[in-house]
């Protein structure tokens, strides 16, 4: 039996849906197990049906997004929040201020005919069966998750920081050796420390490590390196404004 899959795009950059297409030939491997019922970036085909797996990318930024999210939740057995917009709100979720104030700054009017909402991750609105953060996530991660589900195996959940992958790759520690502000110690791994490979500091795009993170100590380290508190605070909040630990 083929599993029914839907890919839903709320507000975002489109990258998390695009990254699925970047699987190339591996996409056809997935299609051995799944039939796609909804994926508007890739296909004009759409069929209203109950889904085995719904993949939701982007954040809730309009009433339309919210309606689509509820549709996906109500019509699926297993819902995956894919990418940092869906799991933590990402960059558009980090812009502070009330929606009407933001609209006024930009359009010069507080009117909101298109029903924009304050941008929030989907986890604020619905129960999520699996959360895979990353701006974007590594494309092999979604491949593995969908393959696991196809075989009836609950996909494993990562719980280690970017630092671990940095050490495994034997990259030089940019925080200690070069004093570059790197959020690797408090950010969830899975990206294979790809930015540190370029000699740059992690900007925290996968959101915070779920447990055992020590943001207070990271804050102190960065302060000692000479970065001001406001700078550090904004850096922490860029991809996960709602995180209560910072």
């Amino acid at each position: 039996m083929m599993l029914k899959l839907g890919v839903f795009e709320l507000t975002g950059c489109g990258g998390c849906a695009l990254n699925i297409l970047f699987l190339y030939e591996k996409l056809f491997d997935l299609l051995e197990f799944y039939e796609i019922k909804e994926f508007h970036m890739a296909s004009s085909f759409k069929e209203h049906d109950h889904l085995d797996v719904a993949v939701v990318t982007g954040s809730v930024s309009t009433q339309r997004d919210l309606d689509l999210l509820k549709y996906a939740r109500n019509h699926s057995n297993y819902l995956i929040a894919l990418g940092t917009c869906a799991t933590h709100g990402s960059v558009q979720g980090s812009v502070e201020g009330k929606i009407r104030e933001k609209l006024e700054k930009v359009y010069g009017t507080r009117a909101n005919p298109m029903k924009a909402l304050d941008s929030k991750p989907i986890t604020e609105y619905v129960a999520v069966d699996y959360a895979l953060p990353g701006c974007p996530y590594d494309k092999d991660e979604i491949y593995q998750v969908l393959m696991n589900l196809a075989k009836g195996v609950e996909p494993p959940r990562k719980d280690y920081p970017v630092c671990i992958e940095c050490k495994l790759n034997e990259y030089e520690c940019v925080l200690v050796k070069k004093g570059i502000p790197c959020l690797g110690p408090i950010t969830l791994g899975g990206c294979n420390a790809i930015c540190v490979k370029s000699g740059l500091g992690c900007i925290g795009c996968r959101g915070p490590l779920p447990k055992d993170a020590n943001p207070a100590e990271e804050f102190e380290i960065l302060k000692k390196l000479g970065y001001d508190e406001e700078y550090i605070r904004r850096k922490f909040k860029t991809f996960a404004r709602g995180e209560i630990r910072w």
Partner: protein, 416 residues
Amino acid sequence: MVSIEIEAFTRVEGNGGAEIVIEDGQVKEVKVKIFEGPRFFELLTLGRYYYDVPDLEARICAICYLSHSVASVRGIENAFGVKVTREIELLRELALIGELLESHALHLYLLVAPDLFGYADAIRMASKHGEIVKEGFTIKAFGNYIRETIGGREIHGINIKPGGFGRYPTVEELEKIEKNSEALLTFAKRIIGLFASQKPLGAKAKYYIATNGYLYGDKLIASDGESFDYFEHIEERSLPYSFAKQSHYKGEIFMVGALPRLILKNNMLTPMAKRLFEEYKEQLSQGYVSLNNLAQAIELIYALERAREIVKELLDKGINGENITIEPKEGEGIGYVEAPRGALIHHYRIDERGNIAYSNIITPTAFNHAMMELSLFTEAKKRYGNTSEMEFMQKMEETVRAFDPCISCSVHLTFL
């Protein structure tokens, strides 16, 4: 009065639709509605240190993240009055070429080709035309290899920095790019005829606009011979039915993209691309927006040829790998880049501490918004009442698709 609703465009990036207003049996008006939520990027970067800003701006769009990074670093460097080396310029151009290949291959092979063969998507098309889909994937993957090598990751890498790069490519990586760009020319040449055979759709723009260099520049140029900064002649206005704003040049509708680039800048093309341009010149000059697809196909050839030229120059001189040191100071600067789907602008004012004090971004899809409405209007008028509903809707979507719209980009929102 009745309206026909196109609920959501498919096989495009982002969320948008259209309303076609019919009055007394005539098409009266077309509204292109962009309902992708607002993203407030200008507010996001406000007050932030310039060095971190390109990494954030990249996230405006996944398909053209490097166009945003490069426009952002160029705007920032111009604000500081910094000039980078030829090596850095060439590597950035190579990054833009990688992006052009990735984006055009996605658009032509996976999004438009299914229309020409009559399928709902490339996956279904692959059952009969697997070869074409596979060749598209190969070009796309190569574009992404360049994006990863120079940009730091396939999507949203952070390697492009004000003053240079985090990491410079190795000789082996550059040689791989040189070798592949030659090999892929055969694939790219094969699809030119396919897109040349597409039936005309949409309207012809009154003006074309592009940057003064082929993939980036320091001014905009227009088809009336004007060379200018965007704020001199382009006006933006908000619409009640769209999160994207609409632009006019000297009060008139204009177009940006591959077709305008070829028409305005064909003197800069590489040899084979130039020959192809001459071959299809007459057809391209008819100006229908569907010809943007053919123009993109010719640009694939340009990008592959130009990648080889750039790599050859870099390898001949040897990679130096030196960044320019930047001393933050107060200033204002604009970065002009050609994203795959047209001219893109990042404009910044920076304070004496190096923090962003003002930013304005205008994206190609926002530039093309009025032209999209005009094209849909023209096409709807031509077809309303004499084609089946299915055919009508299909042609409307094909017309929008020819712009290769990137809706995520268009809703970043701007200060006025």
